[in-house]
Amino acid sequence: MSTKIATLLFFCISLIACAQEDTTIKTLDKDYDYEVIFDNIEIPWGMDFFGDGSLLITSKEGQVFYHKDGETTKVADIPNVYNRGQGGLLDVKIHPEYPQKPWIYFTHASTQGDEEGGHTALVRADFADGKLSNLQTLYKASPNTTKGVHFGSRLEFDRDGFLYMSIGERGARDVNPQDITRDGGKIYRFHEDGTIPEDNPFYDQEEAKKAIYSYGHRNPQGMEIHPETGEIWIHEHGPRGGDEINIIKKGENYGWPVISYGINYDGTEFTDETSRPNMQQPFYYWVPSIAPSGMTFVTSDKYPNLKGNILAGSLKFQYLEHLQIDESGVQKREKLLDKIGRVRSVKQGPDGFIYVGVEGVGLVKMLPKS
């Protein structure tokens, strides 16, 4: 090998090593202020709003809280929650046609099943007069495992009333995500009653898990419908480097772990491929990883600089990330609420304000700049 190539190689390796420092994100000269709405939740994992501005919020440990007119009350302890590592009570979603359809959907790591451990479940309950009732399990992934990682999970409805759910690959990288006969590492699609649509892509495939809509995912913890196109957008945790934003298409393979822009946490590689013809490329990938959780599109006029863009929480660097996007990709990234804590969830409320769930802090409202 010539010295030139060796030097070039050394330069490349140095670049990769330095890449842990995130140089492509900007810090605001003047950050947004915020107000703590309530602080009695350790890990505010998921939240969703009713039309009147009241909201439901989940605590990872298993409790559901209802916040209305400045008062927060506990409305339920979800049973069978497997609270281990990244597992626990996860997302919450109110049916878009509430109260005509009085259903609330939750995902949680669940101990249901014969094996030791847990796997992600989708459950539904009725909600009326501040009370949850009639809890039923609509889907339970299997088999359980005692691995404490990659449960997912987020929920979202599309415009046709289909319900989407993400489940992570449960720490079985080489077993689950590329195998459509196994749960984990997938986006699922259901009818509102939990039955499986007959036009799901693998519905007619024998042995397949028929609820699967797309596969080859690692651990998606952000999912939101695009306000204009109606597409389902997700983001997912990558390994070290290589968190991704993906636009979900029916039956597609998103490549994990065959293609990835990341490497193992210990610095070793597991694949040198970043693309294959039959696998989808991400809309965007983060190097270094920010560990994204929670995602929303800003449509309100209260934050002119953010409108039309994506907000995503960073667990790792403890800020809310603003991604300015257009058709061709991400044009600019900014840190909002810098150093606030591990940002777990983010939503725009019906009042147009941005609400953020922060671990150890609670639910906060981000205040527009005057």
Partner: protein, 147 residues
């Protein structure tokens, strides 16, 4: 001969009953301690699954956000607090190697056995092995309560 056997059986039963009743008031689960090497090895897996995302592969942490475990003075000066933080979580301000951290680590839901193993892994890696920590036993972890 028969009498002797009966006698032995009676004595044994009596002893058995006696010890049973005495033990029942201070019951501790009977568990075998692992040798240190096995515990470190098992702890490595726990570390990779539950700790590495924040504290990173060499325990270096992230300055100002996730405190280092490598050469950590907190680990050597606050053994009990360290074990309790893994068992129950840790919240609020701490100072590690001269730097202040104010963060929130929630309980991971590990078994006491896993807590002991991951502590032994951390105490015997990342430069901490020079400090000659005493092995963390299952008994030590089990005996700690939250407050």
């Amino acid at each position: 001969m028969k009498f002797l056997i009966v006698f032995i059986v009676v004595v044994f039963s009596f002893e058995y009953l006696f010890f049973e009743s005495e033990n029942s008031s201070t019951y501790l689960p009977i568990t075998q301690e692992k040798n240190l090497q096995q515990s470190i090895k098992d702890g490595e897996g726990v570390y990779a699954e539950f700790c590495m995302r924040c504290h990173l592969a060499q325990g270096e942490g992230v300055e100002g956000i996730y405190p280092p475990l490598a050469n950590s003075n907190w680990l050597s000066e606050k053994r009990t607090e360290s074990i309790k933080s893994v068992k129950y979580g840790l919240k609020g301000e701490i100072e590690v190697n001269g730097e202040t951290y104010n963060n929130n680590m929630t309980s991971m839901g590990l078994t006491d056995r896993e807590v002991a193993d991951v502590m032994n892994y951390i105490m015997n890696n990342f430069g901490n092995e020079k400090k000659g920590f005493k092995q963390v036993s299952l008994r030590e972890v089990s005996s700690l309560s939250e407050d």
